[in-house]
């Protein structure tokens, strides 16, 4: 008796799990899973609100992390329908591997800035101060898009007059922590655990208790946010529609309200 009961409970729970994971066959709203770059975290909430309002019967499920982490998860079979990256490399890599449905679409642009805690413990006045001895710089992991943009900006800064020739090496030497994604970098600065960090302007705008130090235009790098529909998606038509909406006037208006620009 007891054994049978246990087996019944076991099979019932397995059926329950199976049901929960069953895709489009289940009744109710259609779920569209969106994997989005960490820097889109605030904007995507508003995108979700407006797009769900405009598209009855659709429920967006959103996961945010570093674009590179999300790409690795998709490569391992994570069931995403749409991938919104903070660069064009990660979507291109998926397309190259045959994991994308259709070409990547650029839908937004972002720029870089430096943030410091409001009390500015590192006394950062210009980007040049990032290379001063003893300044605690927070960065993201090497493979995270923000780090590649930041490295490019640092290289360009080093080429400017009145920047030391070894500016880039000194910047790297000052990095005390490498975070999972750009939002974790912002959190460290908000908590005062670092003196400065290079982040996206949209992150700086959403951060609390931080002050911006501008990066000169000639050294600033535009980040091109690119989306791609995942080949394994069972709802690729809906995913294409959302990507087109994002890249269109309605999506751009929402993204612009968070400080994102239009891609070139």
């Amino acid at each position: 008796m007891k054994r049978t009961g246990g087996l019944l409970a076991l099979s019932a729970s397995l059926a329950l799990v199976g049901g929960a994971c069953g895709g489009p066959a289940s009744a109710g709203p259609m779920e569209l899973t969106v994997f989005a770059a960490a820097s889109l975290r605030d904007a995507i909430v508003e995108v979700e609100r407006s797009y769900e309002a405009a598209t009855p019967g659709l429920d967006l499920v959103v996961a945010t992390d570093s674009s590179t982490t999300l790409r690795a998860q998709i490569e391992q079979g994570a069931p995403a329908d749409l991938f919104l990256a903070a660069d064009d490399r990660n979507p291109a890599a998926l397309a190259h591997a045959g994991l994308a449905d259709g070409p990547p679409v650029a839908f937004a642009a972002n720029w870089l800035t430096i943030i410091v805690p409001s009390d500015n413990p590192g006394r950062i006045e210009t980007p040049r101060d990032l290379a001063r001895d003893g300044v605690r710089v927070i960065a993201a992991g090497d493979e995270v898009p923000i780090s590649r943009y930041a490295a490019e900006a640092v290289t360009r800064l080093a080429a400017l007059p009145d920047y030391p020739a070894d500016f880039a090496q000194r910047y790297v030497a000052n990095v005390v922590s490498r975070e999972e994604n750009v939002r974790a970098v912002v959190a460290r600065i908000e908590l005062g655990e670092g003196d400065a960090a290079i982040v996206y302007q949209t992150d700086a705008r959403a951060a609390t208790g931080t002050v911006d130090i501008a990066i000169p235009d000639e050294a600033n790098i535009p980040a091109t946010y690119t989306g791609v529909v995942i080949a394994a998606s069972a709802q690729s038509a809906a995913a294409h529609a959302l990507l087109a909406w994002l890249a269109g006037p309605d999506g751009r208006a929402v993204l612009a309200s968070f400080g994102f620009g239009s891609p070139r």
Binding site: M1, K2, R3, G6, L7, A9, L10, S13, L16, V17, G18, A20, C21, T33, A38, R41, V61, V62, A63, T64, D65, Q73, Q76, G77, A78, P79, E179, E180, N181, R183, A184, V186, A187, E190, L191, A207, T208
Partner: protein
């Protein structure tokens, strides 16, 4: 069993470790309570949905462990066979393994490109990065805690009592249900509680194998991590406080099951 008089020197020596272990948790809870925003933070959608997901997945992984782990514990407790020691070592391995290693290993087996990925695809079952993956990760890391405790409890049951019941005509199933299991009840229950708490706290294997999707694979420990990473310290502290309360509940219930008291008297 005489209680030695406590010496002031001993207290001084032990104080740093006690303070070190207690202070972080006290500060976390104090911050959650004093902030005043705890209830509001607990009510956030991310925390609420993670709480539901955590309770649901740990319930299923506990059921799976009880159903599959009890026969295994019985086998290990009752039968002598070649390779028993090796089997016990294999079963205990997840206890000492870093959870991220467990997550990676699960991905290599059950992932879409894993050794069983093709077979699962034929059946139409996708495991990685789904709610099912959360349950698999929890069961993998937590089941050994139950099997260990259950094996010890079942091994401690007096064989004479079982033989007497057999002599009175009890079938093997009746014997287990009416004699062995009740006698080992405290150890079985304590093992189940430890297994559940380990599953509830599972982080590393989950984030590697199941990812971090709100409402689908984002359990409470993942909320602690993601909300902190996203700069929402209040939500992170709220989720952490729920887990501290659950952990306290676990310790109290394990003590209540007299498993802890046996350990106490041994030291006294």
């Amino acid at each position: 069993m005489t209680t030695p008089r406590t010496r002031p020197g001993l207290v001084l020596v032990t104080a740093p470790l006690v303070a070190f272990l207690a202070l972080p948790i006290l500060v976390l809870v104090a911050r959650a309570v004093a902030g005043g925003g705890l209830l509001e933070a607990v009510a956030r959608p991310a925390v609420i949905s993670a709480l539901g997901l955590s309770l649901g997945t740990t319930a299923v992984s506990l059921l799976l462990t009880l159903a599959l782990g009890t026969p295994l514990a019985y086998l290990l407790a009752r039968r002598r066979f070649r390779g028993a020691l090796l089997l016990e070592t294999v079963i205990d391995l997840p206890i000492v393994l870093p959870p991220s290693v467990a997550g990676l290993a699960l991905l290599l087996v059950l992932g879409q490109r894993g050794v069983l990925g093709g077979a699962l695809e034929i059946v139409g079952l996708t495991v990685p990065f789904t709610t099912l993956a959360v349950i698999v990760a929890q069961t993998f890391v937590a089941a050994p805690f139950y099997v260990r405790s259950a094996r010890a409890g079942l091994a401690a049951v007096d064989r004479d009592v079982e033989d007497a019941a057999r002599a009175d005509g009890a079938s093997e199933a009746q014997l287990f249900r009416l004699v062995t299991a009740p006698l080992a009840g405290a150890a079985l229950a304590a093992g189940a509680v430890m297994c559940w708490s380990r599953a509830l706290g599972e982080f590393g294997a989950t984030i590697m194998f199941a990812g971090n999707v709100a409402g689908r694979t984002q359990t409470l420990p993942l909320v602690v991590y993601s909300e902190f990473g996203a700069g929402d310290l209040d939500a992170s502290i709220a989720a952490a406080s729920v887990l501290v309360l659950a952990a306290l509940g676990v310790l109290v219930s394990v003590r209540f099951l007299r498993f802890g008291r046996a350990l106490d008297t041994r030291g006294g």
